[in-house]
């Protein structure tokens, strides 16, 4: 904490230049959060400005302070949190020196905020209209009838269908995307000058994310307001922000116009972050390369820190970095780095880890380790309390077939509710299929008795999204890792002990962790532990259900690399389930795309992602925000309308037809999954299957 406050360069003071006065200026902002175990210096000397009408993106990993910045401005810091230094200048007035009532009014009328989780950010027992209109009633003293009318009007403007009906509904009656529209409407009802959106789409599916981001864009223009877009997702920022600020460990480390930042990042952290993205290596040439992963963890902000905070994890750090306080440079593109990226020292030039020789293309001749045929899973839907009646079937999985070969990664991608996780649970035997076959290593597991089935569990293991929740918090690591061995009665105590240490070595954890409990680990370490546990029985197939979705980009890269290394060493096959197309693309040899319980497209990863044949796949790809701020090729731009239909009564025929832009009469009959290597279930595939020489491989035909 030796920020040279007086000498810090700052070139955005009011009246400084001919430029329009900034709407919001943060000067030397410092925020602390007092906890029982000490004080966390969440923000330390943050300097930012937002000009009228512009979108400022704030990007960073968890703990970087991006959300704390937003909450400091809004005065919504969690309990124990307080702004301890600096100024928050809004329209030229320091919010920290104004009387509280005045500040509250400014925040209510001149600013609006949209939060991450739309499912919990509305009051469950208050009608939507009442909540939306509340700022009007409170701050502008508008009458009941007029407030209602204006609530309906603003709900219409955020694209809410049947707005006049929905004002009288309660939040739980709406989907997540619709609830986020309500929150946006609420933030906009007093026509604010500044909208702060904190991870507004992180909890939403990509297609919904796209709708919401476009809405925010449109509204910004319409209302002529400025937007602060806070996100961990570089892709979201790249497409939407005018300028970007990158935060790390409570400080802004780099800020620049968006295009410039993405084209030529200067700070070594920004550079490393971009290299950690799976997209960075899955281009035409880079497929199969290792990701750059930032070693270590972000610093503990409750301790005093010296020098550049990224230095301990930086490839280019020198002793000087650890002792010198670096402040942001001046100009349009500011960065706080002693050894910034220059044209000659880009990371690609210094990438030390050579790409491992690719053991590409698993032999098609080998017999499949897993073969799923016409898998169906229905859940009975019931109504009523005591007198339950079956009211229909929820069709979670409807006739899914695919094969996974040894050493191969089969990616299963789709939005929430598409049935991908159910497929995973069926494959590992956590649930029983309604119909269809799961053939594991040549044996249909339905034909096995209990004991045999238990033995087959050694072959298939599961890796969870939330490894913490998937571990007994009262068990030590040694017990957690030994449990599968005990259940399967593998070896004696010393053999198990030896196996456990071997596992820790494989996943890169120190042996000292054996006596610790799950809560002592970080998210990335927990995923390593989860992987170790899955590996304990030397399985041949691991089903990973969103294994990296809860992790930050840099940590995600560590886990993905580890998974690929182990695959190469142990000849593992993966079923990699994720909603994140770029991660699935990076990891998988082949990809299956699911929609509402059906596989709509299966094929080699590269082809599915770059030459999608099903309109849904294309829409999914188009919806994924790209880190390239200026996409080179014009996109096909298939935009899906509306919302996912209920799986309770799914559409007949092609299940996507209700939202498909090119659907016709014939789509009421079900299209079969047809094709050779690159199969698609569509009457009007976007592309013909590319002619490939050689025998059909990998497909089910």
């Amino acid at each position: 904490m030796s920020a040279p406050i007086d000498t810090a360069p700052y070139d955005g003071a009011p009246g400084d230049s001919g430029e329009s006065r900034p709407l919001l200026q943060l000067r030397h902002l410092s925020t602390n959060i007092a906890l029982r175990r000490g004080t966390v210096h969440a923000l330390d000397d943050v300097n930012l400005e937002v000009r009228p009408g512009e979108t400022l993106g704030i990007v960073g990993e968890s703990g970087s302070g991006k959300t704390m910045t937003a909450l400091s401005v809004m005065g919504l810091l969690p309990s124990g949190g307080s702004v301890v230094g600096g100024q928050i200048l809004f329209e030229g007035r320091d919010l920290r020196s104004l009387p509280p009532d005045e500040v509250r009014r400014i925040r209510g009328v001149r600013m609006g905020m949209v939060f991450q989780d739309p499912l919990t950010s509305l009051n469950p027992t208050m009608r939507i209209g009442t909540q939306v209109a509340e700022p009007l009633r409170v701050h502008e003293g508008v009458g009941k009838a007029e407030a209602r009318a204006r609530a309906i009007e603003i709900l219409r403007r955020v694209g809410m269908p049947r707005a006049d009906k929905i004002v009288d509904d309660y939040p739980h009656q709406l989907s997540g995307g619709m609830r986020q529209r309500v929150v946006i409407a609420m933030a906009l009802i007093c026509s604010p000058r500044l909208l702060i959106a904190d991870e507004p789409t992180t909890a939403l599916d990509v297609t919904t994310q796209r709708q919401i981001l476009e809405l925010i864009d449109d509204l910004r223009e319409e209302f002529g307001m400025a937007v602060i877009l806070v996100t961990h997702d570089l892709g979201v920022i790249a497409g939407r922000a005018d300028r970007v600020a990158v935060m790390y460990a409570g400080r802004v480390v780099e800020t620049a116009p968006t295009a410039r930042l993405f084209r030529a990042p200067r700070h070594r952290y920004t550079e490393a972050l971009m290299e950690s993205l799976p997209e960075s290596v899955t281009g035409e040439t880079g497929a199969g390369k290792r990701l750059y992963s930032i070693p270590g963890l972000p610093p503990d902000l409750s301790r005093p820190l010296n020098g550049c905070r990224f230095a301990p994890r930086c490839r280019f750090a020198t002793p000087e970095c650890r002792t010198t306080e670096v402040t942001l440079s001046t100009g349009e593109h500011r960065y706080a780095c002693l050894h910034p990226v220059t044209a000659t020292t880009t990371a690609t030039a210094v990438r030390t880890v050579p790409a491992p020789p690719s053991t590409e293309a698993p032999e098609a001749a080998t017999e499949a380790i897993l073969s799923v045929r016409d898998l169906v899973k229905d859940y009975g839907a019931t109504t009523g309390g005591l007198l339950r009646r079956a009211s229909g079937q929820v069709s979670a999985v409807a006739g899914v077939s695919f094969e996974v070969h040894p050493g191969e990664t089969f990616g299963l991608v789709g939005e929430s509710g598409c049935g991908k996780s159910t497929v995973g649970r069926l494959v590992v035997g956590l649930e029983k299929p309604t119909a269809g076959q799961i053939v594991l290593d040549g044996t249909d597991i339905a034909t096995l008795n209990r004991r045999e089935r238990r033995r087959t569990h050694r072959q298939v293991q599961l890796m969870f999204q939330d490894s913490y929740a998937a571990m007994n918090p009262r068990m030590r690591v040694d017990a957690i890792l030994a449990e599968p061995l005990e259940i399967q009665q593998v070896g004696d105590t010393s053999a198990r002990r030896a196996r456990i240490t071997e596992l820790l070595d494989q996943v890169g954890l120190s042996r000292r962790v054996l006596e610790r409990y799950p809560h002592e680990f970080s998210g990335g370490q927990l995923q390593r532990l989860g992987l170790a546990r899955a590996l304990a029985l030397q399985p041949r197939l691991i089903v990973g259900d969103e294994p990296v979705s809860a992790l930050d980009v840099s940590i995600q890269a560590q886990v993905l690399n580890l998974m690929r290394d182990l695959q190469r060493e142990l000849g593992l096959a993966y079923v990699f389930i994720s909603h994140d197309l770029s991660v699935v693309d990076y990891m998988s040899d082949r990809i299956g795309v699911m929609y509402l319980g059906k596989l709509v497209e299966v094929g080699p990863a590269h082809d599915v992602v770059r030459a999608a044949r099903h309109p849904y796949t294309q829409a999914l790809i188009d919806a994924v925000p790209s880190v390239d701020p200026e996409p080179a090729a014009p996109r096909e731009n298939i935009t899906i309308r509306g919302e996912l239909p209920s799986a309770l009564n799914p559409p007949t025929g092609c299940r996507f037809r209700t939202r498909c832009p090119i659907a016709e009469q014939i789509c009421e009959t079900e299209p079969p999954l047809a094709g050779d290597r690159h199969q698609v279930a569509c009457h009007f595939p976007l592309r013909p299957e590319p002619r490939t020489a050689g025998a059909p491989t990998g497909g089910i035909g």
Binding site: S121, P135, G384, L387
Partner: protein, 319 residues
């Protein structure tokens, strides 16, 4: 909503029928049967047989059960030979008094406990919270008879402003005519309840104040008062509904200690004396009434919950 109510009523009815069966079985499991229990050890076999015949206890069980239920439906809970009056009459005399006392103390408890809980939650881990927490733990830990005695000593001996005895009137009207006498028993009963309720309100309000929707409400620039009263209070009071439902049986059973202490002839005393004298018709009658009250309490809580929480209401009516 209507459908939901009908289903819930049906469930309650089934449970009440089960309760009558259990009560009926207990009546017949009495050592030596009801006749011996009623006529005492000295009775001869002929007397017992005559009694059984007179009461219909020699008929088949099914028939007896039907008769039992028929009598229940006519409000006939049996006859207490000890008190020499019908059970219905005995309960009828005491129940209203007990309910007056219980209702008053519950109302008092709610009126005090909700603001206390809200104050604690909004000033969590600061001195108002610590003070109220300490006081409610103290109140909760104090035996109620000791608390009542202290009340009597303080307010009718040291500082004689209130009578030490509850109203002795025979009818409800006479009881109500002496409100001063009701103060000490009501307050004594309420103190413990306040301690319990305020803890519930506090923890529920703390949970709700940490919810994201409260942060949304604050982002609208609402005053803290409005955030608490308009947004959080309603959701924070849901647990109190459950508590009230669970409290309904206590409304009927009365509070033995307080009734004894203040010499108030209510249900608690009736039950206690019947237990001492092995007056089975009274015991079973009171048991039945309390069981039914328990079922009704749960039903009431569910209905109130549905009325208060649109998530419950709408989901139920949609299905």
């Amino acid at each position: 909503m209507a459908r939901y109510l009908i289903v819930r009523l049906g469930q309650a009815l089934v449970i009440v029928v089960l309760v009558t069966i259990i009560t009926f079985v207990i009546l017949h499991l009495l050592p030596g049967g009801a006749a011996r229990a009623t006529l005492g050890k000295e009775a001869t076999l002929e007397q017992l047989a005559a009694f059984d015949h007179e009461m219909g206890y020699d008929r088949p069980w099914i028939q007896q059960y039907v008769m039992y239920v028929q009598r229940l439906l006519h409000g006939d809970l049996g006859y207490s030979f000890q008190l020499n009056q019908s059970v219905t009459e005995a309960i009828g005399q005491r129940l209203p008094k007990t309910m007056v006392l219980s209702l008053l103390s519950t109302l008092l408890a709610i009126v005090v406990a909700i603001p206390l809980g809200v104050v604690q939650a909004t000033r969590r881990n600061r001195w108002p919270d610590y003070t109220i927490t300490s006081l409610s733990l103290l109140a909760y830990a104090t035996p109620i008879f000791f608390l009542g005695l202290m009340m009597i000593i303080l307010f009718s001996q040291v500082w004689p402003i209130l009578p030490p005895e509850a109203p002795q009137g025979f009818t409800l009207g006479e009881v109500l005519a002496d409100p001063a006498g009701l103060v000490l028993p009501t307050v004594t009963l309420a103190v413990v309840t306040v301690a319990v309720y305020s803890r519930y309100v506090r923890s529920s309000m703390v949970d709700n104040l940490n919810e994201n929707y409260v942060r949304t409400a604050r982002s609208k620039g609402l005053s803290e008062r409005r955030v608490v009263v308009q947004h959080t209070l309603r959701n924070g009071l849901f647990p109190v509904i459950t508590l009230l439902g669970m409290y309904l049986p206590a409304l009927f059973s009365g509070a033995l200690v307080v009734e004894s202490l203040f010499n108030f002839p209510g249900m608690g005393q009736l039950f206690w004396q019947a237990a001492l004298k092995r007056d089975f018709p009274i015991l079973l009658g009171v048991t039945l009434i309390i069981s039914v009250a328990t079922v009704l309490g749960a039903l009431l809580a569910d209905v109130l919950y549905a009325a208060a929480d649109p998530r419950v209401r709408l989901r139920r009516s949609a299905s």
